[in-house]
């Protein structure tokens, strides 16, 4: 039997694996992507100090450590079911079933889609798809595209497309419908973008930090938002224009754009066609939790964490024996936080399986502190109220223990 199986070779999973292996545990990591590193592989951001956060390099470091520590990392393997038996977990994969004493789910996040008429045309893809195609596979997604959905991830990835020499002509809001909701409203989009001031050294953001302080100024800013958008990295960002439809016969040929009022309602007389050979849709991220749901783990909906998350505590333990979670499955944050969370899970698992070692307890405590420090210093914050989200989920762990299980 294996001591620990980890599902997901992203920053959280690999960090956890390395800690477990250092403590002498037999570890196996499985991932359905063809390379280890998870979503880290696509990431490329300029830090405020001018250095680059190069995800491929970071992933390489983690993988090399794993190799040195004899962690078995198996890529191209999907986990489709997990089952708790009396004293172990059974993990069902596309390459056979395995038994393990402890199971860590580090499956990361998935993208929320924004259904807009025409969104199934070839050439329309999620913003993350464009990131992976560009930075991981180094294949051009097109010549000239538009991005629908204005949020931190789409801003960061649009910048990455530009770096690779792919032109993005504009960023727009999604047209308003029952699904797009807040993402289609200028003011709520403005507010959420203002929270990411550190990411984009742009005019919008500089103005933003000023507007942040005054609610009334925010709606003013939206009201008087320039018709031609504000330029970020040389590209117009439109808070007062929305894509109503993606147009094309056999593939994308362009988008139908209209001005919208302050509430996101389109002004139909302003409709215009903008040519494009690809379109990226950015609806934000949510935790990828199916395996935790299969296990019967209790869940809690916490908007600040990005959706439904498996109940867990600061040690990354769920209320279910031998089941741990780390990384974006616990809430949407940057890869740096995911790494630190992985370390916490690693110490936590080591402590539970090895039992005797007091030393690990101190290290676990330190690792928990590292998570908090990293969170406080994060340049990328997907949800402004992440701290309160974390508090809620930890509290719900305590309640779960109190009521049943």
């Amino acid at each position: 039997m294996i001591d620990v199986i980890i599902v997901g070779a992203g920053p959280a999973g690999l960090s956890a694996a390395n800690v477990c292996a250092k403590n002498g545990l037999k570890v196996k990591v499985v991932d359905e992507f063809m390379k280890a590193g998870g979503r880290l592989l696509g990431q490329l951001h300029e830090e405020p100090d001018g250095t680059w956060w190069n995800g491929i390099e970071e992933a390489k470091k983690l993988s090399e450590d794993a190799q040195e520590l004899n962690v078995a990392v198996e890529c191209g393997v999907s986990v489709h079911n997990i089952k708790q038996e009396k004293s172990y977990w059974k993990v069902y994969t596309t390459k056979g079933d395995f038994k393990t004493r402890a199971l860590l789910l580090a499956t990361g996040a998935a993208e929320t889609s924004l259904p807009i008429p025409g969104w199934t045309l070839p050439g329309v893809m999620s913003i993350g798809a464009a990131q992976v195609m560009t930075n991981v596979h180094r294949v051009r997604v097109g010549e000239r595209g538009v991005v629908i959905g204005i949020n931190i991830l789409s801003a960061a990835i649009t910048r990455e497309l530009q770096l690779a020499g792919i032109e993005v002509s504009s960023m727009y809001l999604p047209g308003k419908n029952i699904v797009t909701e807040d993402a289609a409203k200028p003011l709520s989009t403005m507010k959420s973008m203002l929270k990411v001031a550190s990411l984009a050294p742009s005019k919008l953001i500089r103005l933003g930090s000023y507007f942040m302080k005054y609610e009334s100024l925010q709606s003013l800013a939206v009201r008087f938002y320039p018709k031609n958008g504000m330029k970020v990295w040389g590209m117009p960002v439109h808070l007062r224009k929305a894509v109503l439809e993606i147009v094309g016969d056999k593939k994308v040929e362009g988008v139908k754009v209209a001005q919208v009022d302050v509430n996101g309602e389109p002004i139909l007389s302003t409709e215009k066609f903008v040519p494009a050979d690809f379109v990226c849709i950015a609806g934000g991220l949510y935790p990828l939790v199916e395996l935790a749901a299969i296990s019967g783990c209790p869940f809690q909906y916490i908007a600040e964490l990005g959706g439904h998350v498996p109940v867990h505590n600061e040690n990354m333990k769920t209320p279910i024996d031998g089941l741990y979670v780390a990384g974006n499955i616990t809430g949407i944050e940057s890869a740096k936080v995911a790494m630190k969370q992985g370390a916490v899970a690693g110490y936590s698992i080591s402590m539970d399986l090895l039992k005797t070692d007091v030393n690990i307890e101190d290290q676990l405590q330190q690792a928990i502190n590292h998570v908090k420090q990293t969170r406080n210093q994060a340049t990328i914050q997907f949800h402004p109220d992440i701290h309160s989200g974390r508090e809620k989920i930890h509290a719900s762990f305590k309640n779960t223990l109190r009521t049943d299980i």
């Binding site: 063809m34 993208e111 893809m125 993350g128 798809a129 180094r138 294949v139 051009r140």
Partner: protein, 111 residues
């Protein structure tokens, strides 16, 4: 190996030389590179359309590119519904886009 690919990158550097891999997509002979996914190799070859919707016949391409959405499913050899975004091309691989299937129970169609 220039076609459709990002050879030089200001931060990530130059793309390594890789072995060619020969594969087919609906009878078309194509060339990709070792380690590439079906989806990446096809896009680099200018193929955006991966399949048609089994029921409506509408054309589809990649959407999420990381295995979650199942939009890129193609048939590979005898294997149905393979995710093109997670499957690495192999020498001689036969990739097929699938076709529209009859839906005899849909209203308005004959039984």
């Amino acid at each position: 190996m220039s076609k459709g690919r990002i050879i030089d990158h200001p931060i990530l550097g130059r793309l390594d030389e890789r072995e060619e891999v020969h594969f087919t997509f609906d009878e078309n002979k194509l060339i990709g590179y070792e380690g590439e996914t079906i989806a990446a190799a096809l896009l680099a070859n200018g193929e955006r359309v991966l399949r048609c919707h089994e029921e409506t016949g509408k054309l589809r391409g990649i959407y999420c590119n990381i295995g979650h959405c199942m939009e890129c499913r193609v048939n590979v050899g005898n294997q149905k519904s393979v995710r093109a975004c997670l499957t690495v091309i192999q020498e001689g691989m036969e990739v097929k886009s699938g076709r529209k299937l009859p839906t005899p129970f849909k209203k308005g169609e004959t039984q």
